[in-house]
Symmetry: C2
Subunit: 203 residues, 2 copies
């Protein structure tokens, strides 16, 4: 143990190194890109030998999966943390949540890629339960209760909204060079359609 810090309880020390590894990894991903990430670079950056990392993670892809989970969590947090305005139309509130989701993706493309676009082995990752987008479903429920949405399966509605939001976001993140018609216009159009299709008036 080469650490100069004194008397740091073992357990706490370990979790700090773990955190170092994760933040170091994220840094490399962000400014060097996914392709040029390597365990050895990571080890160098945080000042340990490559082998040391294996005392904290059992493989490169475990680091990777951890980052993906964190990113996924950050994403859903971003969208579910939009504060309700008093007396706000539940549909508007729902839309603002979706906007927050999309904006988070555009502002943090690396996180978005982590969360969705990179599933290194063909493995079916543990399907994070519906808790993942429970906020979305709750807000959909509110719209139904307020009579703004036609009655029906809120689960289905929430998933369809998620699909639409994910669609724009991932296209914009993944193909930034494409001649998009204008980000804001496009996002607005997609969200309006996806939400509009659930409105009571449109049966």
């Amino acid at each position: 143990m080469t650490s100069a810090t004194i008397a740091l309880p073992r357990e706490r020390y370990k979790s700090e190194v773990r955190a170092q590894i994760l933040t170091g990894a994220r840094q490399i991903f962000v400014h060097e890109g996914y392709a040029s990430f390597s365990l050895r670079k990571l080890a160098a950056q945080i000042g340990y030998s490559p082998a040391a990392i294996y005392k904290h993670f059992k493989s490169k892809s475990e680091i990777f999966d951890t980052l993906a989970e964190e990113s996924f969590a950050a994403l859903t947090r971003a969208s579910s943390s939009v504060k309700p305005i008093d007396g706000e139309d539940p549909v508007d509130r729902l839309k603002r949540g979706i906007w927050a989701y999309v904006n988070f993706g555009l502002d943090n493309p690396d996180d978005y890629r982590f969360a969705f676009l990179l599933t290194p082995p063909g493995a079916d990752k543990p399907p994070k339960p519906r808790a993942a987008y429970s906020g979305l479903r709750d807000r959909v429920q509110k719209c139904i209760e307020a009579g703004r949405f036609a009655s029906g399966d809120p689960e289905l509605m929430a998933q369809s909204l998620w699909a639409a939001a994910h669609g724009v976001t991932s296209l914009l993140v993944q193909k930034p060079a494409f001649p998009w018609v204008g980000k804001r216009r496009l996002i607005t159009r997609v969200i309006d359609s996806a939400v509009g299709g659930l409105l009571f008036e449109n049966q």
Copy 2:
């Protein structure tokens, strides 16, 4: 040249080896997964030395990009090749095209991943011009002309439809283990909303 074939014109021979490489690569990707693909495995499979491949492609990622383009082309072909039924409502025709797109993605998940989900370096790939989804835009145009869609920018409409279609498809392809509410129902919901939002009646 170890080939036993006789008198195959040079040029033609070369393009055949090139094809061998590509189909070999696809095979490995499909039944061994992206992660475990390697040039050496590919070389072994097609019976050449690893170095030989470099006479046909200048790098691994060039092979990769070629496959991605092929997949992208196959995808757009699948969606634009739905035959029009005589006297069919242009909106129905549009929907069938989108369905074909989504179905192609679900039936050929590897192609879909190639086309969208894997951009190995951070490079902005050459943005295939709007020709990519020109079929989609044309059909949108038809809906406008028929007075079924509100007048507006067909480019915007086409892109919003693409975003929605891509959203469902990529989620279903990428997270098959997630407790989806039912593929057909979900796809129907997404397409109906995305198209419905463009209808004249819904302004």
